[in-house]
Amino acid sequence: MSEPILEVTGLGVEFDSRRGNAAVLNDVGFTLAPGETLGLVGESGCGKSMTALAIMRLIPSPPGRITRGAIRFRGEDLLKVSEARMRAIRGKEISMIFQEPMTALNPVYTIGNQIIETIRLHLGLSGNTARTRAIEMLTAVGIPAPDRRIDEYPHQLSGGMRQRVMIAMALVCKPAVLIADEPTTALDVTVQAQILDLLQELQTTTGTAILLITHDMAVVARMADRVVVMYAGRNVEEGGATAVLERPSHPYSRGLIDCLPSIETGERPAYLPEIAGMVPSIWEHQPGCPFASRCSYVMDRCRSDMPPRFRTDAMRRVACWLCGDKVVQ
């Protein structure tokens, strides 16, 4: 395995609020190798998007605060670099696409304007060269009649087309890392398939590593090489995508996989297996495993001691006491 391009270790983020300190991220850590796709999966509120914002250093502060950990990009700790350096990295080396393409694009500028801004700032091109580059990029993301579309406003495009524009903007500088935060959640399934295909095709030509944030295990199955399952601000399982999806070790990963309705079975179950209960509140600091209250395999130890990340095979790490006896040294 090659040297990781992005390495997140022990990341913790807190927010001040009227109800006290909210620990949004407790202990998040993973690595991203060049050219690979890492799926970051979990329910709403588990800290997926917050991890992405922390990497981009976009957490509003105050009230937010990165309390500990490190984010190393090509060996450089992004939490320590200057704002000017961060601006040079953001959009050029690491870029991001968001869930809702309508709110992520500026409605009062043409899409061409918005793409060309990135090109001018990071690639130093101007005038017609920048415009030509933008049209090439729109062609690459499959927008028909790009020389006409470039002068249109976001509201003139469909949801799928807008997401293509976002991708064009994010990839125009051939970034080393692309953070895709629920890129297809707001889209129809048919358009989702197109966008996922597009991301994969572009990845093979640019060699960009993708951090794919999603709550849908099926999207992970379709896209990711490796997967990190997050729960309550920490990663509970990490491993090769196929291995985790076929044999999840953590009860939470299992639950996320089982609760998907499937079209591939002839006999349907009357009810879907569900994960009982709800995500714990970010204001409550309880000892032990955060999943204990919803877990069907819960033991006494789970309620008092936080399980460390056990390494169960070469790639797999699982934060569950059930895996404590399967540790590989």
Partner: protein, 352 residues
């Protein structure tokens, strides 16, 4: 087989739209001749992409948009001919759950009042009995009694959808129209909500008209599946027959687009390019022809009618499906690929 609860015939909803100053009005064919029957106690699923007319169909059933032509008969009464009090009286029997759990609840009303509102408006029961009914509804959808006194913003998305469901069930309707009730929810909460809908259906004998763009959700909940494209139904079949062997190329594309755990990284065989065409000027022939991988010259000129195939067990609108339900697509290699998938289904459905 019990009697049909709802019979929809040749339903059309057209909107007139002015595209600019002094230009003549154009007509959006949002729903263009849709017919189907809902059997009591079953769930009917309508799938299709955004803008295909699913939601307009639902609103037309509820008589919430002006119906251009056609009829909607609920237990033998044509709703399109009713108005005023007579229509309100019938609305007791059909209620709706909306897609967005955030915008469909009044933020200034307490949850209990939201659920009670339909009872007050339709003057059902005595005021005291209404309180009791609200309490029972909260219990039925898995909310705690004290939740009645909270405001919508104090609930999570899943809980709000439960309030929506409780409100829809308040008048004890026979038919519940669900417009993408789980699309805005996370996978884990989605499973809980689907299970709730199933449990309520079994306990209360509800009939669902269920709309979704996610065919997997429909596969789980529905007994009958209809696929809609640009204002028309292109295929309708019982759930099992549909998923074992979808006939229309569009149905196949929809199924292929769903990412699944089983297929994993395998890319879909039938990729659907582009967006649906403009409902202002639908294509002259088959509406799906511009995106169809199997389209021939006849598809460009002649619109295929929705016709019964395979011993009238299902219906499809495609020139290249024969009366016994065999597909005659050219090129055939695509078909062979699909056939192997059908074999896999067949292998799994054989009873032991």
């Amino acid at each position: 087989m019990s009697a049909p609860l709802l019979q929809v015939r040749e339903l059309k909803v057209h909107f007139r739209r002015r595209t600019g100053w002094r230009r003549s009005a154009s007509v959006v064919h949002a729903v263009d001749g849709v017919s189907f029957v809902l059997t009591r106690g079953t769930a009917f699923g309508l799938v299709g992409e955004s803008g295909c007319g699913k939601t307009t169909t639902a609103l037309a059933l509820m008589q919430l948009v002006p119906v251009t032509s056609g009829s909607v008969e609920l237990a033998g009464i044509d709703l399109t001919r009713l108005s005023g009090d007579a229509l309100r009286e019938q609305r007791r029997h059909l209620q709706m759950v909306f897609q967005d759990p955030y915008s469909s609840l009044n933020p200034r009303e307490r949850a209990g009042n939201l659920v009670r509102a339909p009872l007050d408006l339709m003057r059902i029961d005595t005021p005291r009995a209404r309180d009791e009914r609200v309490a029972n509804l909260f219990a039925a959808v898995g909310l705690r009694p004290e939740h009645r006194f909270l405001f919508p913003h104090q609930f999570s998305g899943g809980q709000r959808q439960r309030i929506n469901i409780a409100r829809a069930l308040a008048t004890n309707p026979a038919l519940v129209v669900c417009d993408e009730p789980v699309s805005a929810l996370d996978v884990a909460v989605r499973a809980q909500t689907l299970n709730l809908l199933r449990r309520l259906q079994l306990e209360m004998g509800l009939t669902y008209f269920f709309i979704s763009h996610d065919i997997a959700v429909v596969a789980h909940l529905c007994d009958e599946v209809a696929v809609m494209y640009l204002g028309q139904i292109v295929e309708q079949a019982p759930r099992r027959a549909f998923f074992a062997r979808p006939l229309h190329p569009y149905s196949r594309a929809l199924i292929a687009a769903v990412p699944s755990m089983e297929r994993g990284r395998q890319t879909a065989r039938t990729r659907l390019e582009g967006d649906p065409p403009n409902p202002l000027e639908p294509p002259r022939g088959c509406r799906f022809a511009p995106r169809c991988p199997y389209a021939q010259s006849i598809c460009q000129t002649t619109a295929p009618p929705l016709r019964a195939v395979d011993g009238a067990t299902r219906a499809v609108a495609c020139h290249f499906v024969d009366d016994s339900g065999r597909t005659l697509f050219v090129p055939f290699d695509h078909d062979r690929a699909d056939a192997s998938m059908a074999d896999r289904f067949a292998a799994r459905t054989i009873p032991n």
